[in-house]
Amino acid sequence: MTPDFWPTLFVFVLASLIGLGVIRRVSRLLHTPLMSITNAISAIAVVGSIIVTGSDYPLEIRILGAIALFASMTNIVSGFLITDRMLKMFKTGSKPAGEK
């Protein structure tokens, strides 16, 4: 095991627990937008894609990276835009949206 293994595993386990705690409280009304925003968030693979695409690597490696970057970026753009589009539609009867 590399020395980085344990701290990394800690981060994973703790982040998962935070995720479970936070997601459990998301309103059922919003489960569809929740799914589209987590789509956009998991497109954080964009970080790995940029490294593979932009570093001084052989051409074929960078081509794989560029396709991955395209795919991640598509998810980021469409995920956040469609989430916001759906959320704009949720209104209460009397009060304007956005009020507590």
């Binding site: 009304l29 569809t32 929740l34 998991s42 980021i76 209104k91």
Partner: protein
């Protein structure tokens, strides 16, 4: 390519923002703030990754990002009835990104020779690729089924020994994975790795073909979790904690949604994934001939006018008929008469979690009138009319009473307890699960046959003309 303190700090800020993004999704009033936090976090991650000195091919990055915008913007403008397919498609993109980066990292490490591919890194890369590629093909299949592409069968496809074939494929993949992890620099390692990728692609395909439309909400949630976990594996391989945090958030979201969906159908994960559902029920209950009683639109409108509480129960049929805007008109007509109107939302109504809520919100129905199953069931006996629009299995009382029914034990909306039930149904065929619905034959149930949008449109017309001025 060690990260500097600045980059690490930026990643920490982005991780925190992602957590807040999901935290703010807990209520409609703060949810849009969550989107802004998510956008900020992603922008920070992109800028600080790109700004690192070893990134030199800037035009490649610009090109790929531009292409992402060109495809992403139109994908965000699909009609809301197509959101389940769009979601499945984006899981496929997420899986592909993880798989491709993992593949690139492996071949890069292999070319650079011993020392680059530690056992730890290899385990992470293999997991990343298996999860990524199986999410790619599995999600494409799911998207195809949801889009009802003609050559992809809608009904579950099963064959004898299906699970055994899958298990053998899995065993071969695990065997190769162990070989490539133990000996990553072997001359044959690239070939083994390629075969693992091929098997993962095949496995994703095989995993989805036995699954029917009614199980799609669960399957989409599971694929969501896989996409998240492949990002986590990428984080382990690249030693990047931002990837691990964001991936873990996505993974836990998919997991929780899948659990909610399974509970709402009274089924286990294993049962959804490996116990193909949807064979048409062979048992014919009772001997007496069952007859539908149908009602005219005029009659139904008169009953609705006299009601105090009307509960509308929407299902996937509403989405198919695009009836949500007509339902809004009906809602207005009834509200005008001082009638209370509530919508009863079953967790698995539609093709993805929360599908009905989004469609009704689009039709401008206040979300305060969208009521969850558990809550509305206590009010059902007081309801004068339950109006079922394109829902079927989620209102089938057989789930409570008939132990031989495949949906026995599934929590349902108690439409049958209302004083009167009107069910709008396109045809006399059974629902997606292929099960007869006892509700339709109950004493207090009257059928309105026809396209949901047309029938509700007629109801609105009746109410509008019959009412005079109020």
């Amino acid at each position: 390519m060690a990260m500097t303190g600045v980059t690490q700090f930026a990643y920490l800020v982005a991780s925190v923002l992602f957590i807040f993004a999901l935290h703010w999704m807990n209520a409609p009033a703060t949810a849009r703030r969550g989107v802004r936090a998510g956008v900020a976090a992603t922008a920070i991650a992109v800028v600080f990754t790109w700004a690192q000195p070893f990134i030199i091919h800037h035009w490649w990055i610009v090109g790929a990002i531009a292409a992402g915008f060109i495809v992403g913007v139109p994908l965000s403008m699909v009609p809301l009835t197509a959101v389940p397919q769009r979601t499945a498609l984006s899981h496929a993109f997420g899986g592909a990104a993880a798989g491709l980066v993992g593949t690139a990292e492996f071949y890069l490490g292999w070319q650079e020779g011993p020392g680059h591919l530690t056992t730890f890194k290899m385990v992470a890369l293999v997991l990343e690729c298996i999860l990524g590629y199986l999410t790619l093909t599995g999600s494409l299949m799911a998207a195809g089924k949801l889009q009802e592409i003609s050559w992809i069968p809608q009904r579950p496809v099963t064959y004898p020994g299906q699970n055994i074939v899958n298990l053998i494929l899995l065993a071969v993949a695990i065997g190769l994975a162990v070989a490539v992890i133990i000996n990553p620099t072997a001359p044959a390692a690239p070939l083994w790795f390629a075969i693992i990728i091929g098997l993962a692609l095949l496995f994703g395909f095989l995993l989805i073909i036995p699954i029917g439309g009614a199980d799609m909400p669960t399957v989409i949630a599971i694929l969501n979790a896989y996409a998240g976990l492949s990002a986590v594996a990428m984080g382990f391989a690249l030693d990047n904690r931002l990837l691990i945090t964001a991936g873990a958030l996505d993974g836990s979201s998919g997991l929780i949604l899948a659990i909610i969906m399974c509970k709402a159908m009274n089924r286990s994960f294993i049962n959804v994934l490996f116990g193909a559902f949807g064979q048409v029920q062979k048992v014919i209950v009772g001997g007496e001939a069952k007859v539908y009683k149908s009602e005219t639109v005029e009659g139904a409108a008169q009953v609705l006018e006299q009601a105090n509480l009307v509960v509308i129960i929407p299902g996937y049929g509403m989405a198919v008929a695009q009836a949500q805007h007509k339902i809004r008109e009906l809602y207005d007509q009834l509200k005008k008469r001082g009638i209370t109107v509530k919508f009863a939302i079953h967790p698995v109504a539609g093709r993805m979690p929360g599908h009905m809520n989004v469609l009704l919100a689009e039709a401008d129905i206040p979300y305060t009138d969208l009521v969850e199953m558990e809550e509305i069931n206590t009010d059902m006996p007081q309801a004068d009319v339950a109006l079922v629009v394109g829902a079927n299995d989620v209102v089938n009382p057989a789930a409570r009473t008939d132990k031989t029914s495949p949906i026995y034990g599934m929590p349902i909306i108690d439409a049958d307890k209302a004083r009167m039930v009107f069910a709008i149904k396109r045809s006399k065929n059974p629902g997606f699960a292929g099960i007869d619905n006892e509700l339709y034959f109950a004493d207090r149930t009257w059928m309105l046959f026809g396209d949901a949008k047309a029938v509700i449109g007629e109801l609105v017309k009746q109410l509008a003309s019959g009412s005079g001025m109020h």
